[in-house]
């Protein structure tokens, strides 16, 4: 405990108080009329310098459709539907989370209708091509910055329901449903997950039986565990759904297929033989009406089978290009092209996670640039939070990671819109790894930002704390992060075995470096070496390569001792998850380095270079694998750690510029990011 006696404390407190009175006179300077005897909010804009062009840095991060994004930000800011609130002279938009879940759902739907009227969704399903897809991504990112519920509700309708029609359906489905989906004449949802089966879709229990007498399928929920669960849009609004179901033809199971079923009529009444219940209140995303669905022998026309890979003839013949029923929808090779469009879910999740991290950091850093606590020297002014090295160490590596991961997200988007049958496997692997790493990064960042804002972080209006609930689901939906990491490692192992067996060089997934001899890490790690991209990439690759070798050795050991392949994977989870991370970190680094290369020499490039070093060295500092397997000796690991601290202090002067470049308008941040004294003043405390 403190050695200070109560009287000492009292006199120190008096000194500080009188100090406020005397020094504030000096601060007022020529403006002696202002009677500022207390703390006043000093906006970071006035005392922080920005040495690079924020506009250019934002271009590096947002890359595409900047005007479209700004237009959409403006659409939201200027409408009462987006709940504008004035705090401290600034207007903030944010859903009213004090609303009940029913109110939040209705508001989400109203916002969608408003955006629809203004033309935001024009062409989302009726035009195709990379340009449309990039614009859709930009809009999804922008909408998610306002509210994750809004983005998800729109995502389910367009990407899951609309995407299923587009990619699992054929012309008759496109003609019938796409335009009506784009105009929201019908509202779609996507019924895949069941109470008993989530990630393992092959195990779902819903059954569709063909009845050749009536030319219909009969959809049935045979048991409680087969109820469709978490179906976004089902509880209140959806009129139609895609149902994933086992297809039963003449008593033979043909595997999982997708069907269209109408849930509600156009007056909103639930259709006969369908039961829908609510999933209830959630820790976040209450603006999305997640529901549960039971099908009681629902009859649908034969044409409602989405038949792009398999069809049923009127007389009940099953026609498919593939023999193995398991392969129809979930094939990993030949029909990957068929599955790939659904990867868009993982792409949008990765990107929205990164924009959420940007919001959290922009708020926490801006607060740390205006909030002071304690003094280094008695009677001196208190110190800005961000001038504490510990505070820098908490937040700035997260900024560096967010920069790196933003570039990685852009790489993923580009790869996705330019997809070819050949690139589908890479997209699948990279999007799995990125989705896991980026969503975990977001959750960790939000927690750190929440703590860095102290009690203010607890207020819902200040976002950072509340967003944790809104984004938590990301680590498990569209593939559990741990499962995804294991899938990444499985794919890498496949590459490894193929290369070794056929004695062919590695090609793809960025593994070409494995054809080279093992690298040597320099014995002396000077600052220059630590900051060289050569050292950084070599070290990150060394970890990935070694983990892959170890993983392969462990798998073959398990298998040679008689353990089957799947169980061997389950046993090897430790290396599998480490390897998945090593792979993702390495690709993220490469994309960031590549983007750095596009920046022309000058102050901006210097800053990006520092961020890149901070990213790489933080990866090394955080993962025990570097020490555990000896890629770095204890001395080298200490050198890495010291350099991280140095980089933090060098990046400190750029903090405001770095978070301003995220391009999230102030209205989408929160009161503590701005004048938190005025926004908490008695005169503005109506709530």
């Amino acid at each position: 405990m403190s050695s200070e006696s109560p009287t000492d404390r009292a006199s120190r407190r008096t000194r500080i108080l009188s100090n406020h009175l005397t020094t504030s006179d000096l601060q007022v300077g020529g403006n002696s009329l202002q009677s500022n005897i207390c703390l006043s909010y000093s906006p970071p804009e006035l005392h922080e310098k920005i040495e690079f062009e924020v506009r250019k840095m934002r271009e590096l991060l947002d890359v595409h459709n900047l005007q479209d994004r700004d237009w959409l930000f403006g659409l939201m800011m200027q409408s009462k539907l987006f709940n504008p609130q004035e705090k401290g002279g600034k207007v903030f938009v944010m859903p009213d989370f004090n609303h009940t879940k029913e109110q939040q759902r209705e508001m989400t739907m109203k916002r969608i209708e408003y955006l629809l009227e203004r033309g935001v969704f024009d062409g989302w399903l009726t035009t195709r091509g990379p340009e449309t897809e990039m614009r859709k991504f930009a809009f999804m990112e922008t909408l998610g910055i306002f509210d994750q519920s809004l983005a998800i509700k729109i995502g389910v309708h367009f990407f899951l329901w609309g995407g299923a029609i587009q990619f699992f359906g054929t012309k008759r489905h496109h003609d019938k449903w796409l335009r009506d989906t784009e105009t929201y004449r019908i509202k779609g949802c996507f019924a895949m997950t069941e109470l008993g089966h989530g990630s393992n879709v092959r195990g779902i229990e819903t059954v569709a039986t063909y009845d050749p007498k009536t030319d219909e399928f009969v959809i049935t929920t045979p048991c409680e565990s087969a109820q469709k669960y978490w179906i976004g849009g089902a509880a209140n609004h959806a009129t139609h759904t895609v149902v994933f179901s086992q297809l039963n033809i003449n008593g033979r199971n043909q595997g999982v297929h997708a069907f269209i079923v109408q849930l509600r009529d156009f007056d909103g009444n639930i259709c006969p033989n369908i039961r829908i219940a609510d999933c209830g209140h959630k820790i976040g995303l209450n603006g999305v009406d997640n529901g549960r669905i039971w099908f009681d022998n629902v009859r649908i026309p034969r044409e409602n089978l989405l038949n792009s890979v398999a069809d049923v003839t009127p007389d009940g013949q099953y026609k498919s290009a593939i023999q193995d029923p398991d392969q129809v929808i979930f094939s990993c090779c030949r029909f990957a092209a068929f599955l790939a469009p659904l990867t868009s879910g993982r792409v949008t999740i990765s990107l929205s996670a990164i924009y959420s991290a940007q919001i959290g950091l922009a708020i926490a850093i801006r607060y740390a640039l205006s909030r002071r606590a304690f003094s280094f020297v008695p009677n001196e002014p208190e110190v800005l939070l961000l001038d504490y090295p510990s505070h820098q160490r908490r937040l700035l590596p997260l900024v560096a990671k967010t920069y790196a991961m933003t570039c990685a997200g852009n790489y993923l988007k580009k790869m996705y819109v330019k997809r070819t049958p050949e690139s589908n496997k890479t997209i699948h692997v990279v999007s799995s790894g990125f989705k896991a790493v980026l969503t975990w990064h977001n959750m960790r960042t939000l927690q750190e930002c929440r703590e860095a804002c102290g009690g203010q972080g607890l207020k819902t209006e200040n976002q950072v704390g509340h967003l944790k609930g809104e984004y938590d689901v990301q680590s498990t939906f569209e593939g559990d992060n741990n499962v995804l990491m294991q899938q990444v490692s499985k794919a890498l192992l496949g590459e490894f075995i193929a290369a070794k067996k056929k004695n062919k060089p590695f090609k793809g997934l960025g593994l070409e470096y494995m054809n080279e001899p093992w690298p040597v890490i320099p014995s002396q790690l000077t600052s220059d070496i630590l900051r060289s991209s050569n050292f950084q990439i070599t070290t990150l690759r060394l970890r990935e390569r070694d983990l892959l070798n170890r993983f392969a050795a462990e798998m073959s050991q398990h298998q040679s001792s008689g353990v089957n392949k799947e169980y061997a994977f389950a046993l090897g989870y430790q290396l599998a998850e480490d390897l998945g991370r090593a792979f993702s970190d390495r690709i993220i680094f490469e994309t960031f380095l590549n983007d750095e290369g596009t920046v022309s020499t000058g102050p901006m490039k210097d800053v990006v270079g520092k961020l890149r070093s901070l990213y790489a060295l933080t990866c090394m500092e955080e993962d025990a694998a570097f020490l555990r397997y000896g890629y770095l000796s204890t001395e080298k690991a200490a050198a890495v750690r010291a350099e991280v601290a140095k980089l933090c202090s060098e990046l400190r002067p750029h903090a405001l510029g770095l978070v301003s470049s995220f391009g999230v308008p102030g209205a989408f941040l929160s009161p503590i990011a701005f004048n938190w004294i005025d926004s908490n003043a008695w005169s503005s405390s109506s709530a």
Binding site: N31, S40, L46, Q67, N675
Partner: protein, 346 residues
């Protein structure tokens, strides 16, 4: 005059004898805007930089006003246009009267709403700012108050009493000054034909993504309901410089998510490009047709919206390609303790 105003503002800020600043017009108009004809003359005589210098001073003045530590009360009797709005709208109090006429008519002149208009127009309700900025529509005092361009409405006959009362104030406290103006204020009647009563149509049309979309939304409204106001709105857009319309829309949209300093810095880049005349000569053509020859028949180039690509618009927002030319240098305001309403603009 701008240099003089700037000097006075800077001096008054540190003068303990000054509590507030009252800005009023001398004569029938408050201020019809900057002397654009003189700027054109300067450019013709020397080069674009001499024209741009004028704007540099003007925008710095606008910035100082926006971040001023003492209340500025502007009395807007008569016409307030263009640069006139630049020296009033950033101040704390704007008093309109029944004689006030507001407009930002720059798009008809081949320019764009500058002097920080991308800041204050973009913050009007809904998409009223886009409407006012693109069409150059004139607003009366009641409309100014309704949309927030004015903070008070005082009948012209009471202005001298108001001034007298303000002279007696021994405080810089905004609340006190606001209360004094309130004593002379009244609630004016918003005329039935007011554009402000059409906010729903304005929002539907002017929220559209591009100028072309805005026009076709207006035309669709007109098809549904033939109406003079919509017809006039369409006509003002069709008369304006297509380039001006496109850069103005983008400027207002960007301004909406920027602070006042960023707005002025960006507008300064834009104005330099306009003065340089390399991307388009519409400004010179507009001045010729409206101010010099007065034939009111400018020949815009490019002549149609669809001939102006996003890339061409983009160039107005880039740094000048000139080693010797810098972005706008805003004066540091860090030595002052700014009032909350000024901090909120940063």
């Amino acid at each position: 005059m701008i240099s003089r105003l700037l000097d006075l503002f800077l001096a008054y800020e540190v003068d303990p004898n000054v509590n507030l600043i009252i800005l009023k017009g001398n004569g029938r108009a408050f201020c019809a805007g900057g002397d654009v004809a003189a700027v054109v003359h300067d450019i013709r005589k020397a080069n674009w930089k001499s024209g741009a210098q004028f704007f540099s001073k003007e925008f710095i003045l606008n910035y100082v006003m926006a971040t001023y530590t003492k209340p500025q009360v502007s009395i807007l009797n008569g016409i307030v246009m263009g640069g006139g709005n630049g020296v009033t709208m950033h101040g704390r109090f704007r008093v309109a009267t029944e004689t006030s006429v507001f407009a930002m008519p720059e798009t008809a002149l081949g320019l764009f709403p500058d002097v920080g208009a991308s800041y204050f127009l973009s913050r009007l309700p809904g998409f009223f700012g886009e409407y006012v900025g693109l069409t150059g529509a004139r607003l009366d005092g009641a409309e100014m108050l309704a949309c927030g361009l004015a903070t008070h409405f005082v009948p012209a006959t009471k202005l001298s009493l108001l001034e007298e009362a303000l002279h007696k104030v021994d405080s810089s406290d905004s609340a006190i000054i606001s209360a004094i103006i309130d004593c002379y204020s009244q609630q004016p009647y918003l005329k039935d034909q007011s554009a402000y009563r059409r906010l729903d149509v304005i929002d539907r049309c002017f929220s559209r993504k591009t100028v072309e979309d805005i026009l076709s939304a207006l035309e669709k409204e007109y098809m549904d309901k033939a109406d003079d106001w919509i017809k006039n709105t369409i006509q003002s857009l069709k008369k304006a410089s297509p380039t001006s319309l496109k850069i103005s829309l983008r400027s207002i949209r960007e301004g909406r998510i920027q602070g006042v300093g960023q707005c002025l810095t960006r507008e300064f880049r834009m104005v330099c490009h306009v003065m340089e005349g390399k991307l388009s000569k519409d400004f010179f053509e507009g001045c010729r047709a409206i101010l010099l020859d007065k034939d009111r028949n400018p020949k815009w180039e490019p002549a149609r919206l669809e001939l102006i690509s996003e890339g061409m618009v983009e160039q107005y927002f880039s740094r000048m390609d000139d080693e010797e030319w810098d972005d706008l240098k805003l004066p540091s305001r860090s030595n002052f303790v700014l009032p909350g309403h000024a901090i909120a603009k940063l």
